[in-house]
Amino acid sequence: MRIFWRRLIGLLRGNRLERELNEEIGIHLAMQEAEFRQRGMEPAAARAAALREFGGVAQAKEDYRDRRGVPWLESAARDLRYGLRGLRRTPGFTVAAVLSLALGIGANTAIFSLFHTLMLRLLPVEKPHELVSLYPTGGRFDGYVSYPLFQEIAKRGDLFTGVIARTPVSKTRFATRPGARGQFCQREFVSGNYFTVLGVAPALGRLFTEDDNRTPGGHPIAVLSYDLWHNRYGADPAILGAKILVDEQPFTVIGVAGAGFHGVQVERRAEVWVPAMMAGMKFTDPRTHWLWVVARRRPEVSPRQIQAALDVLMAQHLKAVYPSTYNAAIRQKALGQRLEVREGSVGLSVLREEFGRPLTVMMVAVGLVLLAACANVANLLLARGAARQKEVALRLSLGATRARLVRQALTESILLVVAGGALGVWLAAWGQRAVIQFLPESSGNPFGAALDTTVLLFTLAITALSAILFGVGPALRSTAVDPAAGLRAGSVGQGGSPLLRRVLVVAQVAFSVVLVGLAALFGHNLFALRSVDLGFRNQNVVAFTVDFPRGMRSEIRTPSRQLAEQLQTLPGVFSVSYGFPGPFLMGFAGASIRVPGSERTAHEPGYVDEAHIAPRYFETIGTPLVLGRELERNDMTGPRQVAVVNEAFVREFLPGEKHPDSRTFSFDDSKPEGGEPTFIVGVVRDVRHAGIQKPVKPTVYVAIDQGQNSGLPTMLVRTQAPPNALLAPIYRELRRLGPSVAIGDIRTLRQQVDDSIYEQRLLAALGAFFGTLALVLAAVGLYGVVAYGTARRTGEIGLRIALGAPRAQVVWMIMRDSLILVALGLALGLPAALAGARAVESVLFGIQPADPFTFAATAALLAAIGAAAAFLPARRASRLDPSQVLRNE
């Protein structure tokens, strides 16, 4: 090792040592010469004798140099310089190769980092493999569990060593100390045993115990995350015992969790933990679903055994909660619920539930992109190798070893892949930002702050793999030249292995068939989703919830009305209304009703969705009235209870009724004819308020000021001006209402719709991007192979034309060549694309995986690309002047 370093230093100080060596040898020769002259030799003879005595001066120097430096390093440096020079000489090739590699590597890094976070990364807790998530399915509240059910599960010491409950992490108002400027933090309500069961140690102070979560509202204490403590308090240990404000309530900080722990929800990092008892929920109500449950199973109990035990527990629990006297429709639905035991070691994720499968498909797809890129670069290298055949032949005959030439070719590949990889990592960071744009705010940032080590290792691995994939073959291929034959051959080398190049192109076409097929499927899917009639026109309606401070929450009707009136006066505003819940995916409320005279509710009550709305609601969101009128100001406080219903209501309860606006229904469901009537004054078009892909339920819209309602209203502002221009005035009006009135979640209805189909939009966008990329790569590959093949057949084509072959026939001959390659690629790619389509069935809406339109379009597109790639070479060939060609032969 020491010798190695000295040699390395020798390499760096090469010039000085070279001078010294020359000097030393010069002195030696001079001394010898002087001695010979003393013995009486002539000067010239003495000099010659001295040289003879010394032996080969150049040889000694070369030996000396070999000793001095690090030979392989020196030759590597030479290869590097040679490679760089070569790449600089052909900028077109270099840019094409580096760009396709960078896109391939970048796409893989970006998608893999998402994949890694959501699917692979273990939680930084003790023995993560023992964790299971208990996930209710089949009800209206998938994933959520009530407090009483949690307590029942927690009693099962025979199955679990610990059971914890927590709420999803949510963004909450926060102040670092009372009186400080208001900020936001990510808060998670947790059961007292949360940290103990997960095995998380405190970095400072202490963490919660069971005693910290006993009395509702009685534990104003909080634990901070290590990151929050560092970023907002500068890791000040005086934080212990200090007061902070969370949702405007004072909490005392008792500790800081260990570094690296961010809770159990992967895409949302918790910053402040608060005991669940501070959540202000109905802790004894088994029908209030608000908790996610994670349990640590006993090592000796298998998940399958737990599932069996929980099936029994859940059935008993549901029977007790929904006795037979309960509304039959709700009861039936509720009894179908099941508590699923799911793997918990990688944490909980809302995003994973929705997105896991398509993400896996995307991962495979970007893998294909990388393979296509490698095939492309290999193809380019082969073509380059063919062009260099003469050079290679010359060097071989001058005595270069083949190993040396292969090493040189590989050096060039490594240069390409290193550049591609570096650019790829940069592209990946950029791609992650682009992906985040598609995710709704509620899904947080699944990527975290920095690139993970695992992700970087992955990138390194695929980079190395690419170099091997595209580098070795061409390197061996292009140096396998018989020197004599190579030198003799004409200026056009004899091939760069046409067969290998064809195979590569067919592979490229097959990869792009898969990618383009998936892209077309996602595109068609998005189109189908977009063409669903949502029941409202969503352009330019700004929607936001108003978060009133605690003091105002008991009476929000007056401030809501005031705010609506103020907003109405803003320039550019058409109409303002509000409602609870909002029109699209803002939650829902339900009611059990009787409709006098309806067959449907004669024997048992009917179940409807219920919304509370202000005047001009339907005008504002742009939902057409089918019959009657919408609610007016007088209806809000008038003595008569009135309602607007949707068409689904009429279909369900009053089928065939010509004048539903003369009928009534009743919220008193105790007897078939109902109690106090609510008068139907109008019928509106169905609004898909539960989401694009959900069927419309019978819905009643009642006056927001009538009856009790506790929800925070969603303000709706229909504007002529661009929605963004409205933000500043809206904030100004809010401040006039009160100093701490805040806005939660301000978006246009269009954004809300977009956010609700973000997966499909993301997939369509990614698909379009990667599909286009693969198409371009395939087109370049096809063009290269066809153009090259045509150039080689120039003589033959010239002869054919001279013998009277029609030009059209020549064109067809060459086009056919390309189309055969495309057909082979299609034959390989289509089955794979179909398999991929089946895997993403869960995100498809209204179209089948084997969507005929999609696959026909894919095949047509590829054929068109094949024809286009062959067109230029074909035209060139058909315009050949036979006399000239034959003269050149």
């Binding site: 020491r2 010798i3 000295r6 040699r7 010294e20 060596l21 030393e24 040898i25 002195i27 030696h28 001079a30 001394m31 010898q32 002087a34 005595e53 010394f54 032996g55 080969g56 001066v57 040889q59 000694a60 030996d63 000396y64 070999d66 000793r67 001095r68």
Partner: protein
């Protein structure tokens, strides 16, 4: 690396150089070459040029060190000198040689 002088066993030249430096003290390249030729008489046909790679090898291993100085004839020259590690190396290699020579003698002695 240098296999161009098959007349001398690999490693033999190293020991000769070290031993010469031990007996004569600091010496420049020409002096060393002359001395080695003198001692070996006509038995060794040394190409003086091969000496320099050997000197470099020994220096890299830390057995000798070099500095520029002035010769008896008031000429600038690079002088080589034994290090402590070099002395130890001579002891080690001499032993090795003696063992090898003793071993070879047993084979070469006429059978009894």
């Amino acid at each position: 690396m240098s296999t161009r002088d098959p007349g001398i066993l690999q490693g033999t030249l190293d020991l000769m150089v070290l031993r010469t430096l031990e007996t004569m003290g600091p010496q420049h390249g020409f002096g060393l070459a002359k001395r080695i030729q003198q001692i070996s008489g006509c038995a060794l046909d040394l190409n003086q040029g091969t000496l320099y790679p050997a000197l470099l090898r020994l220096e890299q291993r830390g057995w000798i060190e070099s500095r520029w100085g002035t010769s008896d004839a008031n000429r600038k020259a690079k002088f080589y000198q034994l290090t402590r590690a070099g002395r130890k190396q001579i002891a080690r290699e001499s032993q090795d040689w003696e063992r090898t020579v003793a071993l070879m003698e047993r084979f070469l002695r006429p059978a009894e």
